[in-house]
Structure formats: structure tokens, C-alpha cells
């Protein structure tokens, strides 16, 4: 068809829209709403994801970790016995390769405070490296970060609340009287404490825009007090000292040190019915070569004095998950809480404790002897706002590290592995993927609805124009031209609708990107942790390709909606169309 004919067909399509004004408006609105919602939801999810990804790297783990391969395979159990020595050397090599690193020894235990207990995951860290690599360190909301070499602990704000350590924001009246006011020894201190706490803010106070309302407070809740707003850093520090002097910050870590050790003796039935069946023939022979049965009892004893053989036997047992190969040593460590962490990443604020690695090296600690369970890695001078890219991929880190090692004629230890942040963020990735699916389904549903709307509009419009279609064909319009005219008409509905929708979606997105939604109350209800690494404030992000694609898809879908009724009209003989009333 020539350009002029196309223009005329298009003009006719445009004017036909005006004929079914109400339907056109309703259909256009449906398309617009679908498109706007899609843009809004997509921006929302992208915003959460970008922020989460940034926060995982910036607050949680950098771009990648070095761990032993065995640790990675069992990482959900936090197997502290799968540790490795020599992190200082690796850290130096990584620095030469252009990466910052932070060593960690992660273990689990129970923390006892004067007022409570809580199971915690402890990260034994090197405060200096930790501060350089991760951003949660400055988010010690009160107190300070532990000092190197001291048995000091920083805990997540959630754990602090549970254990009643740190400075409480909203103590109950009795807690306040007994633990806070009661901690002040002098009249002067008591006056000082009184000056810091007041009645809680009333809910009559105007709320922040977009904030999610608190659930209605239970009727018989004990009266609460609140730390006044605008308490200075110095005042906090003084309050902390007063509370610490009362013993509020003294804690005890109860943990079990798991170490790998070949057992000196193994009971006959355990050896024969548990250990041997879990091994293959070669491994069985290896174990038998190290253990000998006692002629009297039949129990097996470690007979080999060969250390190399013993350690190979031990590795075999650990690889087969033989529980007898892990020795458990109970350990109690007294420490003092010196800070409470509350960063924008909920993972750092939960049931977590941070303790200097250097304080746990000997008998009084965990007898680490320089071992760590992981080394966190981030590119030196990496931008916090940046999500780790290909330059920080495990492969890139490994390649850079190998170059440095090769220059000295060394190689990367065979039992270690570099893994990226995604390998450790299954919970986030699952939450994100799940949301993505449910959003997609919802959107699909919306699009199906507006598609049905457009189909219906076009069906009616084309049916109503059966006679006219017959005339157009009598005038010599080909089937293709009729199809073009009607798909163009429907496409126009889609184009106008999606243009309005895009405008609408972007208008909603502007405040969502600039200010976001404050849902701290809702987040608190959920315990502050729901997979995404964001706290209390959620912001959308712009996603131009998706915005553009939304317009295109909505337009094309609308156009497609005209095809079936048009084909139906074209199947009729022209005479029948002309007779149609």
C-alpha cells in the first residue's frame, strides 16, 4: 500500500476511535492502569533489589569470600572445624592483586546477659580490616566497635533488645526503675538519667508522609518510657558508662569448639557398622591401616604414629561425615558488650555478635591459632553504591590472585575456593525471585484483563461496522488493508492508553524514587528481616528499558486483539456484510 493510502487508513482509524467514545475511554483507561501499575511495581522491585544487592556487598560480605571447599559444601551448618590458617599471607597477596580483605572466624553459641539469653552467630573479626571493607561498622548506634585484642563484643540491635543490654529506647516503667534508674549510683547520675527519658511520643503527633501505621497497641500493655529525641553522643556515652558500671553489659559466651581429630579409640560396633560401611574400599583399607583391634574387647585403637597417615585418615572420616571425627570442646568466654549495631542491612542487626579475632586465639578464647573460616573480599576503593561487577567476580579475583602468587612461584591452596556473593545470598535471591514471579503473575493477570477489554471493544466496534467493512471491500480494499486499518485502530487505543499509563507510572515513580515509603512499623512487626537487605525505607528505581517495553507490549497486544474479529468479518462474503444491519 502506498503512503497516501496508509495515511488515509490511519486517519480513518483515528476517527473511528471517536465513534465508540465511552468504550474507547474505558479501554484506554484499562490499558493505562495496567501499564502504570506495571511500571510502578517493576520500579519497586528493581529498587528493592538494587538496594539489597548494594547492601549485601557493602554491609554483609563484600563481593566474594575465600573459604575451604569443605566449608562451602556445608556452609549452612557453619562448620567451624573446616577452617584454614594463614589468612595474613592471603590478605597481603590479595592487597597486591588490588583487593581489600577481611578475615572472619564464624561460630555459633549462646550469649548470656544478666537479663536474658539468646542464641547468636558470632563473627570473630579483625576490626581494622572489617572497618575498611564493610560499612556496618560505623552504624554502632550506641557504644563503639570492639577494640583489637580485647574480649569485647558488639551485638545486633535485635539481640541487644532481647538480652537487655545496651541503651534501651523504650523501656517499660519497671525496667526503667530497676535497670536504668537503678544503675545510677549517685544522685547526680539519677538526675541525669531522668533527664534523658520521658513519656513516649503520642500517636497524635502528625505522621510522616507514606508511613505505615503501627498496629493498634494491646489494651493492657505496661506503660512505656522513651529515650528523648536529640540525646547527644556524649550523653549516650555517659549513660552507657553508667549502665555498664551496673554490670548490664557483662555477658558470657557459651560455645562448643568443634575440632577435627582422629579418635584414639573407636568401639567395635561403631567401627564396623557405622564407619566402614560409609567408606569405599580404598578408604576402608586406609582406615584399617591406621587402626588395630584390641584382641580382648574388639574395639579399635589408633596405632599409627605416622602423622601424615593419621591426617589422611582424619580427612577421609570427615569427608564421610563420620561424627566421631569431630571433637567437641565446651567453652565459656566472659566478655563485655561495648556497642550495638544497627545498620541499613537487617542481617547485621539481628542475632549477631562481633568480637575481635585476636582475642580468641589462645586457650581463653577458641584456641584458633591463626585459623579463620573465611576471608571477605572487595575491590580496593570500591564504590559502596556499586553492585559488584565482573571485575569482582570470583573468577576475576582468582585470576588476579594467581598472577600475584605465580610471580613468587606459589599457587593458590587446593583446598580453598573463591565464591561470589550470590553463592551466599540464597535467602535474598529466593525472596527476590519469589516476588518477581508473583509480580509477573499479577501483571499478567492485569494485562489479560485489559486485553479482554480491548478485544471486547474491538469485537463490538468491528461487528457494528460489518456493513461498512463490506463497503470498503466493495470499493476494492484488500483483506490486508482492512486488517491493517482495524489493527491500527486497536493499536492506537493501546498506544494512547500506554502513553497515559507510562506518564502515570512515572508520576508515581518520581516520589517513590526520591522519597520512598517509610514502613519501619511494618518491618518491626516482621522482626526486621524479610530477605531483602533494606530497612524501614523502601525506594523505587527507574527502569527505562522496562518502561519503554511496557508501552510497546501494551500497544502490540492491543493491536493483536483486533485480529480475530477482523478475520471473522473478512470470512463473510461481501454481500452478506452489506446486508448486515
Amino acid at each position: 500500500m502506498n503512503a497516501a493510502a496508509f495515511r488515509d487508513v490511519a486517519g480513518m482509524a483515528l476517527r473511528n476511535l471517536g465513534r465508540h467514545r465511552v468504550k474507547t475511554v474505558i479501554t484506554t483507561a484499562a490499558v493505562a492502569i495496567s501499564a502504570a501499575l506495571y511500571i510502578f511495581m517493576d520500579g519497586w522491585i528493581l529498587g528493592m533489589n538494587l538496594e539489597s544487592r548494594r547492601n549485601i556487598a557493602a554491609y554483609e560480605m563484600g563481593a566474594a569470600k575465600i573459604q575451604t571447599k569443605a566449608y562451602f559444601d556445608k556452609k549452612d551448618e557453619l562448620p567451624m572445624y573446616e577452617n584454614f590458617p594463614g589468612w595474613e599471607t592471603l590478605a597481603r597477596d590479595l592487597a597486591k592483586a588490588g583487593f581489600d580483605s577481611a578475615p572472619r572466624f564464624t561460630f555459633t553459641g549462646t550469649l548470656y546477659s544478666r537479663a536474658g539469653t539468646a542464641p547468636l552467630v558470632f563473627n570473630a573479626v579483625d576490626p581494622e580490616s572489617e572497618r575498611r571493607l564493610l560499612r556496618y561498622v560505623p552504624y554502632v548506634e550506641s557504644g563503639r566497635f570492639p577494640r583489637d585484642g580485647a574480649l569485647e563484643l558488639a551485638v545486633g540491635s535485635l539481640a541487644a533488645e532481647k538480652l537487655r543490654v545496651g541503651i534501651p529506647d523504650r523501656p517499660t516503667r519497671s525496667e526503667y526503675e530497676a535497670e536504668i534508674l537503678g544503675a545510677a549510683a549517685t544522685e547526680e547520675d539519677r538526675a541525669f538519667v531522668r533527664s534523658l527519658y520521658g513519656p513516649p511520643r503520642t500517636s497524635k503527633e502528625p505522621r510522616k508522609p507514606f508511613s505505615v501505621p503501627d498496629k493498634a497497641a494491646p489494651a493492657f500493655e505496661e506503660e512505656k518510657l522513651a529515650l528523648k529525641e536529640g540525646v547527644s553522643g556524649e550523653e549516650r556515652e555517659r549513660l552507657w558508662r553508667i549502665l555498664a558500671a551496673s554490670g548490664r553489659m557483662d555477658v558470657r559466651i557459651s560455645t562448643v569448639i568443634d575440632v577435627k581429630a582422629a579418635p584414639d579409640s573407636i568401639r567395635k560396633n561403631k567401627f564396623e557398622q557405622e564407619l566402614l560401611p560409609s567408606l569405599d574400599a580404598g578408604a576402608q583399607a586406609l582406615v584399617r591401616s591406621a587402626y588395630e583391634p584390641d584382641p580382648a574387647t574388639g574395639d579399635y585403637y589408633l596405632a599409627s604414629a605416622d602423622d601424615a597417615l593419621t591426617s589422611r585418615v582424619l580427612e577421609t572420616m570427615v569427608a564421610a561425615d563420620y561424627p566421631g571425627a569431630i571433637r567437641h570442646i565446651n567453652q565459656l568466654i566472659d566478655a563485655v558488650v561495648v556497642g550495638v549495631v544497627n545498620s541499613p542491612n537487617p542481617k547485621t542487626n539481628g542475632s549477631v555478635g562481633y568480637i575481635p579475632l585476636s582475642a580468641l586465639q589462645d586457650e581463653a578464647g577458641l584456641m584458633l591459632g591463626g585459623a579463620v573460616t573465611e576471608i571477605l573480599i572487595r575491590k580496593a576503593g570500591a564504590d559502596d553504591a556499586e553492585i559488584p561487577g565482573s571485575a569482582e567476580s570470583p573468577a576475576a579475583i582468582r585470576a588476579a590472585l594467581d598472577r600475584v602468587l605465580a610471580a613468587d612461584g606459589r599457587t593458590f591452596p587446593d583446598n580453598l575456593d573463591v565464591r561470589g556473593w550470590k553463592d551466599y545470598s540464597a535467602d535474598y535471591l529466593a525472596a527476590s525471585a519469589g516476588d518477581e514471579v508473583s509480580t509477573r503473575v499479577m501483571i499478567l493477570f492485569l494485562f489479560v484483563l485489559s486485553f479482554i477489554g480491548i478485544s471486547n471493544t474491538m469485537l463490538m466496534a468491528i461487528l457494528e461496522r460489518t456493513k461498512e467493512t463490506g463497503m470498503l471491500r466493495a470499493l476494492g480494499m484488500t483483506d490486508g488493508q482492512v486488517l491493517l486499518a482495524y489493527t491500527l485502530e486497536a493499536g492506537l487505543i493501546g498506544a494512547i492508553g500506554s502513553a497515559i499509563g507510562i506518564l502515570l507510572g512515572c508520576l508515581i515513580n518520581i516520589p517513590m524514587v526520591a522519597y520512598g515509603i517509610d514502613y519501619s512499623a511494618a518491618a518491626r512487626e516482621m522482626g526486621g528481616d524479610f530477605g531483602y537487605r533494606i530497612v524501614a525505607l523502601f525506594r523505587s528505581a527507574w527502569n527505562p528499558p522496562v518502561i519503554a517495553a511496557t508501552g510497546v507490549v501494551a500497544t502490540v497486544l492491543s493491536a493483536v486483539a483486533a485480529i480475530p474479529p477482523t478475520l471473522r468479518a473478512l470470512r463473510m462474503p461481501v454481500t452478506e456484510s452489506l446486508r448486515f444491519e
Partner: protein, 227 residues
């Protein structure tokens, strides 16, 4: 030159299980420049005949040749192109496109034929002037009387100067004075351009205009008169 030739043209309609024989073997030929009327009582097959000749439907049996071409051999697209180039239609119910102005209605066939916008506009204006509607170019169909609409339909049929114009009861919806005017225009065109006209009617006055009269009854030719 023979413009239309039908031989043994038959059309059956299936209607609720019974077969209606609308045409039962009509063999006719029309020469270039004819001004012919097909007459007959209601239901005799006039419309069916014109529609078949205009390639708007396919016959059950028999053949049709338009301009010497057997239309049975043509594809849907070729039939559309044949209608576009060579055949103009005028219907009892006018069948103008309601969203287009009379000027646009008349230029539509030209645009489909690929004429430029300005040229099409000029030709359409001239055609509207010829049917006496030079001052109604901007009106939509619903803003005009029946007679005016039918004149727009005539302008639309003649504007591309087709070899053949088929008119199915063009005056049935008009009063006799307006009907006469419409026929005068058609006849004038037949004289000046040599356009072949075949129109159906059951109006005596209209038959009197025709130079050849074919009368149908029950789908058969009852009589043929030349005047």
C-alpha cells in the same frame, strides 16, 4: 466490446436447511456504453445478479467474465483489485463511510488507487460538483439528506471513471423528483464518459430511463426489451 458476460449463472442460498434458488441460469452480455436496467418483482434475483457481476459473491454454477476476464480464476486479492479499478457500486442504502466527509468518501477510491492527495482531492471536488454537491464537501453523511447522500455515492462510484457502474435500486429511497435527478446524472455520465451502467429497479419511471430492460422472475430472465 463486451463488458460483462454471464453464462448460465446460478446462485443457491441455503436457508435453514432449505435451498433458495435465487438465480436459475441467467445468460446475459452487456456491451460498453450500455445503460441497462434489471427489473422484476421483489425476490426475483436482481440484487443477487448485480452482486455476482460485481464479484461481491461467488456463483453456485455458471460463469462471469468482466472485461473478458473469467472471474472464477481470480484470487481474493485480484478480485479486490478488479473492483478497485474497474467497478463502481451504488447501493440503495448509500453505504457511505460515516466518519468521513463527503469529500473524503469520494476520494477514498482514488486514494486506494494510489493517486496523490492533492490530485485525489481535486478529482473528488470535481465529481461532487458534477452531482451538484460542490458546496457540501465538508459534510459527514449524517448531516445530509438521503438524496444528497445518494449523490455522494454516485460521485464515489464515478470518480475513478470505472468501465462499469452497478447500481442496486439507486432511487428506491428517494422521492420521484430526486430519483429523477439522480438518474439524469447517471445518464449524463453514460453519455459523456461512455460508462456502462447496469442498475436494478422495480420502478416504472426508472425503467423508462433505460435503453435496455431485462426483466427477471424467480431467478430467470422473463423478457428483454431494447428501446
Amino acid at each position: 466490446m463486451t463488458v460483462v458476460e454471464t453464462s448460465d449463472l446460478t446462485k443457491d442460498y441455503a436457508l435453514n436447511g432449505i435451498t433458495v434458488n435465487a438465480l436459475r441460469g441467467v445468460s446475459l452480455s452487456f456491451q460498453a456504453g450500455e445503460f441497462a436496467a434489471v427489473a422484476g418483482p421483489s425476490g426475483s434475483g436482481k440484487s443477487t445478479f448485480l452482486h455476482l457481476v460485481g464479484c461481491l459473491d461467488v456463483p453456485t454454477a455458471g460463469s462471469i467474465a468482466v472485461g473478458g476476464i473469467d472471474v472464477a480464476a481470480l484470487s481474493r486479492k485480484e478480485l479486490a483489485l478488479l473492483r478497485r479499478r474497474s467497478i463502481g457500486f451504488i447501493f440503495q442504502a448509500y453505504n457511505l463511510i460515516p466518519v468521513l466527509t463527503s469529500l473524503e468518501n469520494v476520494s477514498l477510491p482514488l486514494v486506494l488507487l494510489g493517486h496523490g492527495k492533492a490530485e485525489a482531492r481535486e478529482m473528488a471536488e470535481r465529481a461532487l460538483a458534477e452531482v451538484g454537491l460542490g458546496d457540501m464537501t465538508g459534510r459527514r453523511p449524517k448531516e445530509m439528506s438521503g438524496g444528497q447522500q445518494q449523490r455522494v455515492a454516485i460521485a464515489r462510484a464515478l470518480v475513478k471513471k470505472p468501465a462499469l457502474i452497478l447500481a442496486d435500486e439507486p432511487t428506491a429511497n428517494l422521492d420521484s423528483k430526486t430519483g429523477r435527478e439522480v438518474l439524469e446524472i447517471m445518464l449524463g455520465l453514460n453519455r459523456s464518459e461512455g460508462t456502462t451502467f447496469i442498475f436494478s429497479t422495480h420502478d416504472r419511471m426508472v425503467m423508462d430511463f433505460a435503453r435496455r430492460l431485462v426483466e427477471l422472475r424467480d431467478g430467470r430472465i422473463e423478457s428483454e426489451t431494447l428501446r
